[in-house]
């Protein structure tokens, strides 16, 4: 019914939505970007003009229907425009991760057969040129930032602004052709292709149709009552499906403003200046902010520290209840009001959350303390669960029903079922069309009725109907003695400690569990500074005996809490080591969205795992590292291995007591 309405209105593509917005919200800002210290802005009408000029420029270059246009760069209006301009020409935009090294790019460019590549700057151009013959389809490059590009051979490249100028000049010649192509865009034509980084194997190109994106944008904008007045900050990788949904799908449907920061390193300042009303961030952003607040409070004067502690205690007690609209007595309300004036208001302002109406976090589990901290300040932070193949949304938490350990109820239009082995399946209007040129994978992921396997094991809570995710289905295994092994469950608990950035737990098929730990340089570095511990490098700090002692305490505390759950008590960590380097996507140890690649790590650090299990106290190792520019190097280290205390599971204790 709603589909029919959208179809009737002719809103079957992103370019169609753009035309509607240019007409309806013509003078409202569509894009802002901070450049040269000032927020530059473009209204919907201006954006439509820029995008049209770019699309005409693509036609001048000879872009055909069905071609692929790769876009590699940071979040900038020009890059979003490139995607929509490509769609106008009937081509398919393919945003890539800008921090990918040339080898990774070669695969993706070759796989989708991109003829045109829009590069953000010289760095990206260099990478594409380096790929060279490995992606023979690439014919022409377009770059946004002209810096350093003057001396390049321009027979096969253009500045984006020049391309727009060419396009404007060709309006009379190619305008009709462009209008015809825009008019021909259908609801089931491809809107975008996004490569999933994949925790295993080569990336796969997920084809999403206009229907997927627009239906999802419409349903979820309705769910959270998003309007044209929202402000979002576009800072997450453009190649990630979430950014496409938030900054294009929902933004074009609701007509709100997308703000692009000056650069990745100014993100926090820009966040504060914009004060978004709708915000998405992975847990690590919230963790990072909380850590920095706590570090700065330790430096504050005694009065301020007391105020902060006093009012944060109050907020923790009644803040979430206030946010959920539950009854709170009058006196507490008054005290909370005073706290807002003295602490919460200024704090939210510092964080950039003064105006936030809806905030989401997803991708990883978020620590309950972190979650509650933001909720208690009155920030409506919620969780959602999704994946690229679903155009993000599978489940999300409705206002007033927010908890840190669930991922919410099915999003509008999504059907869910749990298979017998516990794996979660979904079917929705956002469900992807196919994996590009990969019918086998498509068939093994999506069945004939449109049900898609998420690969995650989970269950519905009886009383609330909310979904809870336990772990990746294929990671859940058995230990040698048959006890259940769910590594993510333990890793998440470890990662809730600010000192621990990443953890990888091993134990499938073994008689005990062991772990690699990555320390968080910000938190541990600050602690070292406070305690006059000198260190010259990450490696040295990671190997420091006092750091080991602290991590050991954390591991044992986690063991104790894991022991409380009889089903998972086998997952307690008996031995651990602190890794000498940070796990890094450039080394293939994590995905670009920073999810741990378990198999690759197990393979790469096989010597360390062996040492964890054969009882040695120390192990020396060599590790190959990849620098940002793709060069390789090697670091050597001798790592200490420590034992951690494990606890009897409660049920076993009972048996013993009887």
């Amino acid at each position: 019914m709603q589909n029919a309405q959208a179809a009737q209105a002719g809103l079957q593509s992103i370019p169609a939505l753009l035309a509607r917005n240019a007409e309806r919200f013509g003078n409202r800002p569509a894009y802002r970007e901070k450049e040269f210290g000032i927020w530059q802005s473009w209204t919907w009408a201006e954006a439509a003009d820029e995008i049209r000029a770019l699309a005409l420029g693509f036609l001048v270059l000879g872009l055909n229907r069905g071609d692929h246009v790769a876009i590699i760069g940071r979040n900038r209006p020009a890059h979003y425009w490139s995607m929509v301009a490509a769609q106008m020409c009937g081509a398919v935009p393919v945003p890539l991760y800008q921090d990918a090294v040339a080898d990774e790019m070669a695969y993706v460019l070759g796989h989708c057969g991109a003829r045109f590549v829009v590069c953000g700057d010289q760095e990206q151009v260099d990478k594409v040129l380096e790929v060279g013959d490995r992606a023979p389809s690439v014919q022409h490059l377009v770059y946004t930032d002209k810096r350093g590009m003057r001396k390049y051979d321009h027979s096969r490249m253009n500045a984006l602004a020049h391309l727009q100028a060419e396009g404007r000049a060709a309006e009379q010649r190619l305008g009709d052709e462009l209008d015809a192509r825009i008019a021909a865009l259908g609801y089931d034509d491809t809107c975008v292709m996004l490569y999933t980084s994949g925790t295993t194997g080569k990336p796969k190109g997920v084809v999403l149709s206009n229907r997927n994106i627009i239906e999802t944008g419409k349903n979820t904008a309705g769910f959270d009552h998003l309007t044209a007045a929202e402000e979002v900050l576009a800072y997450l990788p453009m190649a990630w499906v979430g950014d496409f949904i938030f900054s294009i799908g929902q933004a074009y449907w609701a007509g709100f403003t997308v703000n692009c920061p000056e650069g990745a390193h100014t993100m926090m300042t820009d966040l504060r200046e914009i004060g978004p009303t709708y915000f998405f961030a992975p847990p690590r952003v919230f963790e990072g902010q909380l850590t920095s607040v706590m570090i700065r409070m330790e430096d504050a004067g005694r009065v301020k520290r007391w105020l902060f502690r006093h009012y944060m205690d109050l907020a923790r007690r009644i803040g979430p209840a206030l946010l959920d609209g539950q009854p709170v007595n009058m006196l507490d309300r008054l005290r909370y009001g005073l706290g807002s004036l003295l602490v919460y208001g200024p704090l939210k302002n510092t964080l950039g959350y003064s105006r936030i109406r809806v905030g989401y976090t997803a991708g990883e589990a978020i620590g309950p303390e972190i979650f509650d901290f933001y909720r208690s300040l009155g920030i409506n932070l919620k969780q959602l669960y999704g994946q690229t193949e679903a155009s993000v949304f599978i489940t999300q938490q409705p206002d007033g029903q927010v908890r840190s350990d669930t991922v919410g109820v099915p999003s509008p239009g999504v059907e869910l079922r749990i298979a017998e082995n516990g794996e979660v399946f979904y079917r929705s209007p956002g469900t992807f069309v196919e994996y590009f040129n990969n019918p086998d994978s498509t068939a093994s992921t999506k069945d004939a009725e449109g049900w898609v396997a998420t690969g995650d094991a989970g269950f519905f809570e009886q009383e609330t109907g909310h979904l809870r995710i336990i772990d990746r289905a294929k990671d859940v295994g058995r230990m040698a003695d048959g006890r259940m092994f769910a590594p993510k469950y333990v890793e998440n608990r470890l990662k809730f400690y600010p000192n621990i950035l990443e953890a990888v737990v091993f134990g499938a098929g073994r008689d005990m569990c062991t772990a690699f730990i990555n320390i968080d340089l910000t938190a541990v570095g600050n602690w070292a500074e406070r305690n006059n511990i000198a260190y010259a490098s990450y490696q040295e700090l990671a190997g420091h005996p006092q750091v080991y002692a602290t991590i050991k305490q954390h591991v044992e505390a986690v063991n104790e809490s894991v022991a409380a759950d009889p089903m998972l008590s086998g997952c307690q960590i008996s031995r651990f080591l602190v890794l000498h380097k940070e796990l890094d996507p450039d080394d293939g140890e994590m995905t670009r969205t920073r999810k741990v690649r378990r198999n690759i790590i197990a393979e790469k650090y096989a010597d360390l795992i062996e040492a964890l299990y054969d009882g040695r106290d120390a192990v020396s190792t060599r590790t190959e590292v990849t620098y940002e520019d793709g060069r390789k190097g090697e670091i050597r280290a001798t790592l200490t291995i420590q034992d951690a205390r494990t606890f009897q599971s409660q049920t076993m204790q009972k048996v013993a007591a009887e």
Partner: protein, 269 residues
């Protein structure tokens, strides 16, 4: 001599911008520079290298007008330059950075860079104090230029940070920004990479090359790190004990026996 020539790596080198002829500089009984002549061409990167105490910094100070040599002539843009005050030199279009960072620690990065444009501002003191009329317009224009430099050197995130709180490598970059803000014809860099780690050095190299490429600024630099010098510069002057012992492209200099002995300490037979 004034015609454009092509350097071996194919780059176009312009006409001579500055010509130093038979410069001798003495401090009391010590002769820091002995009868040195060389030129700097428009648009090139010219390095001055040499072991400690060779007189490199003195040479740079002669170019910048801080020291007045006892003997010799300095020709700039085709005119002979007499003794000058440093601000007069600055107005001619020569800007520099210092070996020991000389920034205003208590001021923000932005304000520090703005000071580089002082010579380009014309508003009177009263108009500036009241920030009215011409002064306001002028500040906006100058801020625009400064923002372009901030963008160019990728220091947007520290725009408002007091310089005193920055790490060393970034301070060096701010100093470069301030020198660039003066829109110089010649940029003098006194050991731009001193005390930097590899990554900071690589960044700085890229910025120096980009400045030269993008703004066409002529650059004269002193540097200890031989690798850096050989990669960056179009031509190199080598000094030892106040004398010039080599002059030419990096390759020529590298194979010059006198240079090798000065650097590697080959025994004099």
């Amino acid at each position: 001599m004034t015609q454009a020539t092509i350097t071996p790596d194919g780059r176009q080198a312009g006409p001579v911008l500055m010509d130093l002829r038979n410069i001798t500089l003495r401090f009391g009984g010590v002769t820091a520079i002995k009868d040195i002549s060389f030129d700097i061409r428009e648009g090139e990167i010219r390095a001055i290298i040499g072991p400690n105490g060779a007189g490199k910094s003195s040479m740079l100070n002669v170019i910048s007008g801080f020291y007045v040599p006892q003997e010799g002539e300095i020709w700039f843009k085709g005119y002979r330059r007499g003794p000058m005050k440093p601000y007069e030199v600055a107005r001619l279009g020569i800007a520099r950075t210092f070996q020991n960072i000389a920034l205003f620690d208590g001021m923000s990065v932005l304000d520090n860079i703005m000071t580089g444009r002082l010579n380009l501002m014309k508003a009177r003191i009263w108009s500036q104090a009241l920030w009215w009329g011409g002064a306001e317009r002028e500040e906006i224009e100058n801020r625009e230029q400064v923002e372009k430099i901030i963008d160019f050197l990728e220091i947007q995130n520290i725009r408002k940070t007091p310089v005193g709180r920055l790490p060393y490598g970034l301070k060096k970059r701010v100093e470069l920004a301030r020198a660039l803000a003066a829109e110089p014809r010649i940029l003098l860099l006194d050991e731009p990479m001193a005390g930097m780690n590899v990554e900071e050095k690589e960044d700085m190299c890229r910025f120096i090359l980009d400045v030269n490429d993008e703004f066409g600024t002529t650059i004269a630099l002193i540097e200890h790190d031989m690798g850096v010098v050989m990669d960056l510069s179009d031509r190199v002057v080598v000094m030892d004990y106040g004398r010039k012992i080599g002059d030419g492209t990096p390759d020529e200099v590298r194979s010059n026996p006198e240079v090798i002995s000065a650097y590697l300490g080959v025994e004099h037979a």
